[in-house]
Amino acid sequence: MSYEPKIVGFLCNWCSYTGADLAGTSRIQYPPSIRIIRVMCSARIDPTFVIDALAQGADGVLICGCHPGDCHYSEGNYKAMRRFPLLKKLLRSYGVEEERVRQTWVSASEGQRFADVVTDMTERVRALGPSRIHRNLLADVRER
């Protein structure tokens, strides 16, 4: 059997989670790699959630929020956007490959886009193979 990566998706309730639901109601098929966790806004995504997911064995983490200018809380996605490069920098220092963690925008009407994002990301993570991140990372994170 081919290796099926595990990707944790953090999706904002208003745009992306609804977009993912729309993919469902439209019966758009995508790989079963993704496990979605709903948050109210992408700004709620504490960088430690991402590190925690990787430490717990996720092969990839996907963050989705409303498109810039379209946030239900007017500007939460901009805050999430600004946090992301800092997180990426940190992850690089831990040796996490660039393509394992991705942030993108999916609106409530973009069921197809959500499916495309998951499909694309699954292929990229599959190509990287299982994550090699040491589980000791977990201790570091939960210290907080």
């Binding site: 995508y30 806004c41 959630f49 925690d52 996720a58």
Partner: protein, 573 residues
Amino acid sequence: MAQLKIGVYVCNCGTNIAHTVDADSIVETVWKIPDVTIARSYRYMCSNPGQEMIINDIQGLELDRVVVAACSPRMHERTFRNACKSGGINPYLFEMANIREQCSWVHSADRLSATAKALALTKAAISRVRCHEPLDPLTAEMCPSTLVLGAGIAGMTAALELALAGHPVCLVEKTDRLGGNLARLDLTAPYLYSARDVLQERMVRIRQTENISVLLNSQLKSLTGFIGNFTATIANGNPSADEKVLHVGNVVVATGYKEFDAARITHYGYGKLPDVITSFEFERMLRTGRILTKAGKEPRYAAIIHCVGSRNKEFHGYCSRVCCMTALKYAQEIKGAIPECYVSDLYIDMHAFGKGCEDFYKKSSEVKTLFLMYGKNERPVIRKAEPGDDCEMLIEIDEKLSGERIEIPADLVILMVGMEAREDSGEVARLVNISQDKDGWFMESHPKLDPVATTTEGIYIAGTCVAPKDIPDSVAQARAAAGRILGRIAKGKIEIDGVFAEVNEDRCSGCRMCNELCPYSAIEFDETKKRSHVIAAACKACGCCVAACPSGAIKGRHFTDQQIYAQIEGVLA
């Protein structure tokens, strides 16, 4: 952690879930998890027997946590929270796993992986629900005034309905008059009521109703607050006039549509050929009572072209719904006014659904309209006729039913321009904090079950700003929106969800980082204590401050760090 009693319910959703996900195997597996007191699967958990099953188990087995693995929480979270409440536990001691929209429906071909994923999502819900805490809603006053944006048929109807029930309404209109797009029409299909009569009735009643204040040449500038307690700033087109500040409890958005710009389709020569006109220009002609070409002659050949800008990949993929019946109305009106005129009707598909419409179609055939069908991805070509041709223009069309390329004469061509979202719809959506779909139409909270509410509490949508629709549907939506608001006003107070952020003062360092981040200015700083605190009623629970607080002093109720960590652990277990 103290021993819990968790009930887990896996829904089959008929075959929607069961066809792809092995619900019974999930039940079998989760039952072995510590604290899971009962695990069951059932055909429809949302049905009455399904909900009673949960209620009976809560009471009989003394459950203190409930997990339902079923559809999206956006669909039935409220249903099951209410079931928990009926069973006697706090509704927030419940968690849902989305194994339909985000599992069975999107992994239909892979039963094994779909079942494994559904199990992971259910396990995550079980881990999460362990960390749930009982939450109680807050109550706030409901301001009985309503702000209605747009004075077309939908906005006027909503305003009247609310005002006649005894509540103040402010009706804000961007232009200098009431009536919207309907005021540009002559007769309405299929019963041929005059648009003027339909509007006149509304306008007279609006003028006679004391508690409606009408603001023309005005626009919403800002909206702050929350359901029951919004503050709206209205700007007048006149820059020297003061801005009006209103306190309202609810808002109805009924900002309408604009027509497709026919000049975008160059094949039709709109703007170049003088006798190629849009349906709106033809309506104006009908209102003056005479059908004439630009040269002042009665047309001997009239052609009506459907789907201008609609049902086409290049422009709008959707159907504009009203044009087919309006086109048939034109055919009948032209035949009525100029019996010897040949009328051709160039269509893709004839959409004659709805009350009275099929009969109306039949009537148009009886007056000898020539119906010509063209393909969805083709387009008739209009060109100026040569001097010897005995007509002004010639239209070339690949007629689908005969399979032949034919040429028809025309002195007057009417383009049935479709509806599109207004240019300012994006701005309106941002101001009142609602979403738009890919075509720019405002989005419903749920397209079938909650079609006039939006994802922002207290903001309702009605009429053609939601999607193309006819007058009866716009009126019905406007009344539905007004009905929803009257229901909220009747309750007097509003319940505010128990989900909001709170500051642990012992951990707060007083750095004030959160004060700046909050988009609702819901975090205040107590100068004496040197601590920040959240105004619960103003907090919308986005959780931005929770993730940003360097001391970890802010707790996002119902989305706490522990709850999310538990979920992460669960999905990866």
